[in-house]
Every structure is written in C-alpha cells, then in structure tokens.
Subunit: 224 residues, 2 copies
C-alpha cells in the first residue's frame, strides 16, 4: 500500500513538472508573439491553452483519487492538497500566457507594444519565461535555492510593472489611448504570471522546509 | 463518527457562507468608495481584506483537518475539495474589492471614475454586489435557481466590460491617459470579481446536481 502511494505521489510530481514545462513553452511563445506581433505564434499559444486545461483537470482527478483511496495524513496530505493548488496556479499562468498572446492578435498588423516601452516589456517577458523555467526545475528538484531566484525575479517584475505606469502617466508620454490600454493590460498579465510563480514557489518551499511564510497574497497593483 | 462528520461539514458550509457575506460587504463598500471617491470607506475595505484572508486560512485548515481525520470518499470528498477551491475564489474576490477600493485612494481628491463611464461602472458595481449577495445565499440554500441568476449577471458584466473598451477606444473619447488606465484596471477588476462568482456557482451546481459543465475558464478579456 505504501509503495503504491509513493509511486502515485511520484506520478503527481511528474505531472506537475510536465504542466510547468507546458506553461514554460506557452509563456515563451506568448512573449515572442507579443514582442514581435507574431499572430501565428499567438494563435498557437491560444490553441495550446486547452491542453494545459485538460492536463490540469486530469492531475486534479488523480489527486482526488489518491485522497479517496489512500487517505493520506500529515505531510503526505499536505502534498496532495498543495498539488491541487499548484495545478490551479499553473492553469492560471497558462491563461495569462493566452491573454498576452491575444493582445498581439487584437492589434495585428499593428505592433502591440507601445513605443518607449519595448525594452521594459522585453525584460518583463524575459523574466516571466525565466521564472517558468525555474518553476519546472523547482518542481523537479525541490531545490530551495531556485525558489529564492523566483522571488528575486518577481521583485524585478514588480518594479518593471510600476515603471510602466510611471511612464504612461508621466509628462513625456505621448502615446494614444489604445497604447495606454494595451500597456496596462499587458503589464498586469506579466505581473500576475510572476505572482502565480511565487505563490507556487512558496508552497514548494513550505513542503520542503515546513516554513509557512503566510498566504500568497498578490502584491497590490501600483496604478499611479 | 458519521454524526461528527456531518457536523463538521455543516461547519465548513457555515464558514463559507460567513466568508461570502464578508466579501459581499467588502464589494459593496469598494463599489461605493470607487463611485464616490470615498477614501475613508476605501481604507476600510483594504483593512478588512486581512480578515477575509485569515478566515480563508482557518477554513482551509479545517477542511484539511477533516480530510486527515475523516478520510471522506465519493461525494463527501468532492465537497471538502470544493470547499478549498471555493474559499480560494472568495479570497480572490476580496482581493478584487481591495483593488477597486485602492483605485479610489490613488486618485483622491480627484474622482476616479472617468467621465462618460459613470453609469457603466455604477451598473457593473451594482451587478458585482448583487452577485456576491446571491453567492452567500446560494452557499446557504444550495438553490440552483440562484446559480442561474449569477450566470446571467455575469453575462451583463461581460457586456459592460466590453463596452468600457469600446468607449475608451472610440472616436468620441477625449479622456486623459490616466482615465484610460483607471478605466482599464477598474473594468478588469469588476469583471474578474464576477468571474470568480460564476466559478463558485458552477462548483455548487456540480455538487448539487452532479452536472460538471467543465473547468471554470475565465472568459478571454476583450481588449479592442
């Protein structure tokens, strides 16, 4: 019974890793589609999101099945419950990728990234992609140092998110309304993607170290 | 044992109702703060959000405790797992209320609602408040007719959300950039609040009827 349980727990873990890898590909493509206004890649991201949704549902069913058959307690129970929450965050990260890709599609053939913000969004996108890659690695290895990197990247994303508003609300901004709307939404999606990565990293950290640093509240969005 | 379990399940339910009622108060105050640029009420909403976060954590601990001690199966297990997910959505609804309130605080003493969008946001806010009230009632009574109302209200919120972008990206819009940014964020928060309400309503519907209508995907945001 115990062996079966351990095997099923490894199965849960490997499915979480698989899901995180799909999210990694998804955000990499979304960022490319957004920065290059590549509508073909954007379409791919949007199509692939349903695969992420399916895998999330399958993973949740497996976890609920384990709860029903194995009735885990203590740390084992926490792991299964955490898996349910981690899968929910990964699914949302997939949604954020889809939203970022969608912005490129809406504006095609115009460029979606407003002038004066190209380097900011390029760096935000790079950080999101790095975080997703690190997340897959963290889920695979449970190396707590990686969780630290994810938090550091999130701090940088938060700063860039704030700088987007500083720029579009600053005196020198001369963009059109549509550019301000796009920048606002795009920045929010990039930032939320990063928030979910941190939320997952905290859960893994908690499972590994037992140190629960509190609820994974989103940092309040800075809007002026 | 079975009696204890039933009593604990009633406790879970009554805590979900309590949480939903707090969210109802929170969104009612947030909407007032936003529409009237009332910074005192806004502050109250932001302060009270930590109470919602605390109750969510307590409820989650209770649910995990029930899983550990009672090892429920079949429908009972689904109910406990759903409670964990419903609490997560309620917590996010509290966050959205906080974000809406925060927008009022950022712009004080200026009015936060852009001209030409006052009646739109008033109606979106009214619908969000109505949905939260219905949600508490749905969790209390499990009356599936209420779930239907929540879905209908969400459709209206989605239409209003789209109309915000139509307006600020339309030819007749003459607002400043800050108004476009505020409208974009505020509309998104109102819409996400409603999405979470529908997501919870679907879960309750599923538990009552056994009819699982699919994952609670967010409707793609319309941005043009």
């Amino acid at each position: 019974m115990r062996d079966v349980f351990q095997q099923e727990m490894r199965e849960v873990q490997s499915r979480l890793v698989e899901l995180a890898e799909l999210v990694h590909v998804s955000i990499a493509n979304a960022v490319q589609a957004f920065n290059e206004t590549d509508v073909v890649v954007a379409e791919e991201v949007i199509q692939n999101d349903s695969r992420i949704d399916e895998l999330t549902i399958e993973l949740d069913e497996l976890a609920i099945n384990i709860l029903a058959r194995q009735a885990p307690v203590a740390r084992d129970l926490r792991i299964v419950v955490s898996a349910l929450r981690i899968s929910a965050s990964l699914e949302r990260m997939g949604d954020m990728s889809g939203h970022i890709a969608q912005l490129a599609r809406y504006r095609f053939p115009d460029r979606v990234v407003p002038k004066g913000l190209r380097s900011t969004f390029k760096e935000m996108g790079r950080l999101d992609v790095e975080m997703a890659g690190n997340l897959a690695e963290l889920l695979r290895t449970q190396d707590v140092k990686i969780a630290e990197q994810i938090r550091n990247d999130d701090d940088k994303v938060d700063e860039l998110h704030a700088s987007v508003f500083d720029k579009i609300l600053g005196d020198t901004w001369s963009g059109e309304t549509v550019a301000a709307v796009d920048a606002t939404l795009a920045s929010r999606y990039h930032e939320r993607f990063a928030d979910h990565a941190v939320s997952i990293a905290k859960k893994v950290l908690y499972l590994v170290t037992g140190d629960w640093t509190g609820a994974d509240d989103e940092v309040a969005p800075r809007a002026s």
